[in-house]
Symmetry: C2
Subunit: 201 residues, 2 copies
Amino acid sequence: MVETDKKRDAIIEGAIKRFIHYGINKTTMNEIAEDLSVSKPSLYYYFPDKNSLVLGVIDKIFNDYFDLVEKDLSADIPLNECMAGFIEIRHRFFQKYYMLHLSGGSPDSSLNSEELKTHFMRMHGRNIQLHADIFQRAVDKGEISPMEVYKTAELYLDSLAGITSLCILHGNKELFPSKKEMKNILDRQLSLSGIFIKGLK
Amino acid sequence: MVETDKKRDAIIEGAIKRFIHYGINKTTMNEIAEDLSVSKPSLYYYFPDKNSLVLGVIDKIFNDYFDLVEKDLSADIPLNECMAGFIEIRHRFFQKYYMLHLSGGSPDSSLNSEELKTHFMRMHGRNIQLHADIFQRAVDKGEISPMEVYKTAELYLDSLAGITSLCILHGNKELFPSKKEMKNILDRQLSLSGIFIKGLK
DNA sequence: TTTTGACTACTTAAATAAAAAAGTCAGAAA
DNA sequence: TTTCTGACTTTTTTATTTAAGTAGTCAAAA
């Protein structure tokens, strides 16, 4: 069982490497198998279909993200700084996994099946809830005014995601946004976050 | 000359009617001509090509918008209320001209030519400048803190536009967003605007 | 000066064929 | 028994051709 899990993880890692370069749709099960020097049916022994593999990949990426974010959660720093830290974490993930199009608040074209979309939305919801919890804690500490924390967290995250999606839409139509555009997205997200959090006081 | 301008305007009005229903790309010059009971070459007498006609349409719509907005501009009301008013104006335009996809801060697929995109971006810039001017006035009155007004106005408008684009992406994949989704967009934009303006104090 | 029927050139959409990828299975290797 | 594979089938994607539709022109008429 432990061996099996190790193999599963190795496949997921291999898949991620391909996905990062070529995206989910442009990566074939054959390529993933070849990279790992195994046959395609071996992959299908560990994952019933491509969707399950993609699901495993998304799961791993989001868990990495939540691990990082939840580590910062305990520290007793001002809300604005905490949010700035999260933005930078998300920005690194956004950059690294750009080709997977996991960016916006909404499931993208690359997640074809309903199952994947649902799973993605669950992760998204977990992120909102995490932010809502932090907002609630800040309310309890008197750092910001009382409010509907979940709705506010949703609005906060969507406003940041919206900035990203507009910047990408605006920018060059290349496969990958430029360093400059990336920097711009980060700067604007930090600005907006600062104003938003200040507006919650 | 006055007669010619009248005919031009009539053509623009006819084109808008079609565009509202079927969008720019799914409307043919023939259809516009038939609606007005004239021949296609008549249209080409007044507009050298379809782009020019679309340009005239966009120009008219934006001028209508700026007329409405600049009317409210003189009134001496709090910044937040002023912005709320503008959001409602834009929302009405968004709803009415949804099929033209003039919504986001970025030129959409329906604006094919560079000329149109440039013109659209000029209108977009004018809107940012208008908001920057209002922000500057609010700074001068001491209603909000000093800042880079243009950049802030850009961020403000993009954060609102981002909300719209995410809501549309999220929502049903129908041609038209539902009444409920529209209401949701408006409510969230008003919420975000309130928080944002408060954050500028 | 303004309008039109009849025309051409170009673009888009539909249909079809070819290629590639997902997924299966009987059986071999560990 | 669990893990793995070569050879296969089915489905999906992509490329190619074909047909249809649309933008734009022009000589001539109102």
